[in-house]
Symmetry: C2
Subunit: 216 residues, 2 copies
């Protein structure tokens, strides 16, 4: 409460802490679609007043991660099938481009890192850990796309992930467990071979595989 309780430590602003906290939870699918949030509740949880809570929520609404009724009530959005198809198409468009731009810059250390992450994915799949699966899956993609050196594109991709977050959790709950990393292996193989068309196809497949089933 008291501003002086925070010493000289490097502390990002309160609204930023709230924003990142909520964002992570949404992106990992830890908030169910349609779940309601209140400013005072958020403030209480993060131990801040309503002001930073409001700013964080407004930002998330602007990014499409939360929806706001006309009366100002805030909740995670429940996506229609058309909207999901659209967002999947956007993922496909942007992420194929990001992968393509990362390809010429991909060196062996990057591929090793991707394979390590893929191993983690196999573990969390075995443990039926849905949130862990989403987290490692995003890390796999982000690690690859960071190589593209295209921050604006990556930001767009992350915004789309964010919008799909609450729905994603519902998807991976009913997803067949074993098939998870197969497209990731194709992506890694294409990276090793320097095969751009193969990479584009593999990324497109990986991005659209689950979402198509979700929309049906």
């Amino acid at each position: 409460m008291n501003p002086a309780t925070r010493p000289t430590e490097i502390v990002s602003s309160a609204h930023d802490r709230v924003y990142r906290g909520l964002r992570t939870r949404i992106m990992l699918g830890q908030i169910a679609p349609g779940e309601a949030l209140t400013l005072r509740g958020i403030g209480k949880e993060f131990e801040v007043s309503m002001t930073p809570a409001r700013e964080a929520v407004r930002r998330l609404v602007a990014e499409g991660a939360l929806s706001m009724s006309s009366s100002g009530r805030v909740q995670t959005p429940e996506l229609s099938n058309e909207r999901i198809e659209e967002l999947a198409a956007l993922r496909s468009l942007i992420e194929v481009e990001l992968a393509s731009r990362a390809l010429p810059r991909a060196h062996i250390a990057l591929i090793d890192r991707l394979q390590t992450i893929n191993g983690t994915i196999a573990e969390v799949v075995r443990d039926r850990d849905a949130v862990g699966y989403i987290r490692s899956n995003l890390e796999f993609h982000r690690t690859l796309y960071l190589r593209a050196q295209a921050p604006a594109m990556l930001a767009m991709a992350e915004t789309v992930w964010l919008q799909l977050g609450p729905t994603m959790r519902a998807l991976y709950g009913r997803l067949r467990r074993s098939e998870a990393p197969q497209f990731h292996r194709l992506i890694i193989a294409a990276l090793k071979a320097g095969d751009e068309p193969g990479l584009r196809l593999a990324v497109r497949s990986d991005v659209t595989q689950g979402l198509k089933m979700l929309a049906s």
Copy 2:
């Protein structure tokens, strides 16, 4: 100041008025790149307190329309050439897809409307009206893309426009006047012919033509 000064008229919230006001100005390039803004200044101009001004600014920062220094100072961003290239690539990716989705839904009334807007563009070009040019150009694209029935994609495209706004003005200032609507005519021709590859090419050309010269 007093909330009671606003009668029963349907009035959108204060932060929304501020947001839309600033957004329009930025998108039309009426704010120079690097220009500084202050919350109290914005509040005074829109006759609101700092609170709605802050929320509007935060939202625009989240959308990339404004940038914020570590100390919280707000200004329109000055884009590097790499960033401009990236944003142009994003416009190309998203808008080509939008046009492609609009094509099967394009009927004669839409094409008439586009031709009318194109006529307006010819007028403002003759009058050396840079802001009017940007406005009609955006209206041309938005009119076409609305037909795609893909609100999430359109929102993404508008976000990119927003980020390019301040820089756009600088571009169209030094753009050769006569060449403006040529790609628009190609777009209309492709729509009439139902020629999808031609439409994709025309949109890509229209989107990238000016921005390439800006980045050089």
